[in-house]
Symmetry: C2
Subunit: 306 residues, 2 copies
């Protein structure tokens, strides 16, 4: 599929997710509510609305579509995952963590608001993710909604994103650099788990067969790993004006990356291998031509400029 067609599909899902998040984070009082903490909601809106590629929701929507399920359910599941992604960025940027002032070229949430509001906005976004997933509007089947909630909780928690972030912080001050295998494991938790779950959520909500789910799991894991390597290459080689944050910070901070473990060329070879693995998994999934967008997504993830 050509670049323009792909970008159009990406933009369509991004717009649908934006609408869903806008509705979830309305500033007006909702029926039955006791009160609206306006400043909190404004911080949640600041951190979630107004753009971004929405890669994770895109993977949910396109996986579901490849498996024959359209409609707003996958968009809602994608919006829920985006809430978790946004909350993790808010908390990662805090002074006690990465202490970042800029994110996507504008002040981080604790800079634009204050630290307490940023912590609470992150906490409320995590809760909102489960509010969205567990709502019958996401899927008519209670079993599917519970499986989506269980999957997101696992991908976001100590066995996934938060656990990986902890290992990442520890690695910065570790006496020895991590081995390539340790870096892979850390990144599979820190960023890979949520991306892989995005694909899994699409398969869950489309009620895919066990064999198709297995193939999509392999696809999701490969794309998740590829995403992180591409991100690390951007940091090492990118231009601050393009990536919206200062480049070269990973090396300064002794971040555990595959570039540190394998060198730039080694990381690029691993990236190419992962894109091939993602395409092979798609071929094995049995979706045939319907997998076209997801094949393009694997390449997009590996080659993106920001």
């Amino acid at each position: 599929m050509d670049e323009n067609a792909f970008q159009k599909r990406l933009a369509e899902t991004a717009a649908a997710v934006e609408r869903e998040l806008e509705a979830q984070l309305a500033l007006d009082p909702q029926p039955g509510e006791l009160g609206r903490p306006r400043r909190l909601i404004e911080a949640m809106r600041y951190a979630t609305l107004g753009g971004g590629k929405r890669l994770r929701p895109f993977l949910v929507v396109e996986t579901a579509r490849a498996l024959g399920r359209a409609g707003n359910g996958p968009v809602r599941a994608g919006a829920a995952i985006e809430c978790v992604h946004a909350y993790s960025l808010i908390h990662d940027d805090l002074p006690a963590m990465d202490d970042d002032d800029l994110r996507r070229g504008r002040p981080t949430t604790h800079r634009a608001f204050d630290e307490a509001t940023a912590i609470l906005a992150g906490d409320a976004l995590q809760a909102l993710a489960f509010t969205i997933l567990a709502d019958p509007a996401t899927d008519a089947s209670g079993d599917t909604r519970a499986s989506l909630s269980a999957g997101l909780a696992r991908a976001a928690g100590l066995a996934g994103m938060v656990g990986g972030q902890t290992l990442d912080i520890e690695a910065e001050t570790a006496p020895m650099p991590l081995s390539p295998e340790e870096v892979r494991r850390l990144q599979a938790m820190k960023t890979g788990a949520l991306i892989a779950f995005s694909v899994e959520a699409g398969a869950l909500i489309a009620a895919a067969s066990p064999a198709a789910r297995d193939a999509f799991r392999d696809y999701g894991r490969a794309v998740g790993a590829a995403f992180q390597i591409a991100d690390d290459l951007l940091d090492a080689e990118g231009d601050a004006a393009i990536i919206g944050k200062r480049a070269g910070k990973d090396a300064e901070r002794h971040k555990a990356t595959l570039i540190a473990a394998l060198g730039i060329d080694g990381a690029k070879r691993e990236l190419a291998r992962l894109v091939a693995a993602a395409k092979a998994a798609l071929a094995a999934s049995g979706v045939g031509e319907k997998g076209e967008v997801l094949r393009a997504a694997a390449e997009f993830v590996a080659m993106r400029k920001r």
Copy 2:
């Protein structure tokens, strides 16, 4: 029911919840896991294990029991709520929030570990709550598991606990003291929502009739409001050696409490009114003699020493 029998029931649930949390937070690797972030898990264990009354799980278990449902499902739901409660205490104690060094007479989590670990431990505990609730071991029905997840997410999020905490922080620096009605609303969100949801979870998991669920909702709201007033009275009148933290801090900080809004005597009258309302709701629920423990719980909440 006499005080000894009540304390015995309370201790039984606390022990069962402790076992469940201990199993959820095992330090050994779990099947299929990529890695165990030990320090994170140690912080999560520090914040959740080793005691406490476990009032919220007690309300889940005893509500379910009064409605005819026993077994480990209600204990698991209670443990999930306890994870959310524990995470909220970790984050509330952070320097950017209440900046507390002591909690239950020992160092707060960010003091015992560090701030980044405390933020992440709180985040992972919130995720763990949904991992537990959405697991088929909590209830065989996917609809019930999804309803439990939706209810907890709502009680914990911007319309509940986190929203209330935001309003609470804003009230400290508000130009005018809050009206009694505003304080009630704030507290219904900040602490009331999670306590009320504990009762609701018990009713959900016991598949109570709509009429019984309504009566239990009234009971839960009254107990939740009573709990907060009792807590504020303890702060105003309590002994630091008994309550495990310094007394009189609310007034110093201009916290929005019903004592500030109504005076000590006014707050005590409201507390008595709420206990009576809780008992009336129980009487209306149709559980009869089986409501005995929950009647005692309403009195316990109002009269506890810490």
